[in-house]
Symmetry: C2
């Protein structure tokens, strides 16, 4: 019996620290922002912007250097930024304000030396350090939310940004909306006795890749029940006990991945062909071999930093008595 509630048997410490998009250290304040903080931040020389067009980030890509995702205000003008809807993300540990703004310029119409890069590529191509990538997760989630809430869902009138962009309020009926985050369960379902795990592949995956099953938590559902329901729906496998393992902000457009481990109670797979192209059991050895390919062009699992990768790795590395 552990001597502390916090002594879990999980390997590698807090798994949520080891996934991509989780390195944000910004001091937020979110809905407590006073109305003068955004204009103040806009006027500061040191302020940097995430400039987003559609679902892509505008990055400065000069020569062979790593592209830069945090831009200066003077760079924005040519992108037709929607400044009214600028969001104050907060301040870095050094006191610099970080802002996010959507721009109307088309991704394929950007002047040199700028490129528009989607969130998945920003992370997979390692274009940012962990802190910046974490801040960008916040930026993209908020910008995509704001874009989907230009009009009031109650009455259809225009909404106005308040509290540094953290609240949007209807100009007609005063209905207020707050940022949206969609909880998703992603689960490593395991058969402990036979040391194997359940994974599937979506038709959208690169050839040969498998990953954990996943799905949105439903209204009026616990996390554990979501794991059992989604696994049953997608694979036909019944799940008993469920254990939390890690979480990950997933800013495409604004999800929270909740990484769980589920206990398989049945054996025979009948997968849902609307969602999956294949679903099967993998041994520890197979999974280990697949993880070894994950940095290459023929990756058979999601890359390090993906919560599915973390679940696979930690299942294999879990301390065992037997």
């Amino acid at each position: 019996m552990p001597s502390s509630i916090f002594d879990t048997s999980a390997p590698h410490g807090e798994a949520s620290r080891l996934v991509a998009f989780s390195g944000n250290t910004i001091d937020r304040q979110s809905e407590f922002r006073s109305e003068d903080e955004l204009p103040k931040a806009m006027a500061e020389e040191s302020t940097r912007f995430f400039a987003i067009t559609g679902d892509r980030l505008i990055m400065r890509a000069e020569g062979e250097a790593t592209p830069v995702g945090l831009l200066e205000k003077r760079e924005l003008d040519k992108f037709h930024p929607e400044l009214r809807d600028t969001i104050l993300l907060g301040r870095t540990e050094e006191g610099e304000a970080l802002l996010a703004v959507h721009c109307l310029i088309q991704a394929d119409n950007l002047p040199e030396p700028y490129k528009a890069i989607d969130a998945r590529s920003v992370y997979r191509q390692l274009l940012m350090d962990q802190k910046t990538l974490g801040a960008y997760a916040q930026a993209n989630s908020l910008v995509q939310w704001a874009r989907s809430n230009r009009h009031c869902g109650r009455c259809g009138s225009a909404m106005t940004a308040e509290a540094g962009g953290y609240r949007r309020k209807c100009s007609a009926c005063s209905h207020a909306v707050f940022p949206r985050t969609d909880p998703v369960v992603i689960m490593m379902v395991i058969d402990e006795e036979n040391r194997r795990c359940l994974m599937g592949r979506s038709p959208h995956f690169p050839e040969g890749m498998y990953s954990c099953l996943a799905g949105f938590v439903e209204p009026g559902e616990t996390i554990e029940d979501a794991v059992r329901r989604e696994t049953l729906e997608e694979s036909g496998i019944r799940v008993g006990r469920v254990r939390y393992h890690a979480s990950q902000p997933w800013p495409i457009p604004h999800s929270l991945m909740i990484g769980m481990i589920g206990e398989a109670l049945s054996d025979e797979i009948t997968y849902d062909s609307r969602e999956l192209e294949d679903c099967r059991w993998f041994s520890v050895e197979e999974t280990e071999a697949m993880l070894a390919t994950s940095l290459g062009d023929a990756a058979k699992t999601p890359p390090p930093g993906a919560i599915a990768h973390r679940l696979m790795r930690d299942w294999i590395d879990w301390p065992r008595t037997s």
Copy 2:
């Protein structure tokens, strides 16, 4: 070292099964509903409805009997139901369809023998069995979401319900929205060495009541970081390790409570008076005595079924070596 990943040291098994609103056993199908299933369910004699006006449930309250929350179709007519936006929740284990509909009648204008009761009272007054209460959590979350998405957030045009009400689509720009669930962290922050826990009271609480701190997970944030940030903001206490304990659907209007246990790394409380009226440390003995009051009129903690109550109870009951 445990012999199974699923052997955690938590007392009382899966804590999420022991909280209110978690007993839903409906077979959903959610966005996979075909368009003919809702009209088919509407026409069946056995179908029952949750009829909601504003944020309250219309219940049939005859004499001394427990009010009934699932109504027949013929009862709805007098409530001016918005039938176009009816939501098919799914089917019970017995095959009955359960539906949810918002009604335009005012709560104070209901004919005998109907009453409109808010979600918190439905649960606190034990007006439903666990399964029905779970289905009602799904119903209220979906109805409140649909009410806030009558118009398209992108262009302001009217939205139409599809897939049994599980998807709303813009009649003009085709933008689609899906049900919203807001993840909230609620945390028992503990000082293991001194066997005490951190709780606060909001000005809205009944006199003498304390509970766990809580707050929305921010865009671009892990669950663990949300626990550390919210605890620091609300109480000034720094949190180190964080452990997941339970989740609870909270349909007011559509949250997912994520119950966590946090390790206090500091001692001195400086609470945020914008959110709290008091915040302090409680010993095991004090907490135990407070829990004993929770069913009475002078409850000092939330009632059994509240996830905060569960966190307090399980902290006290956690197996200890020392």
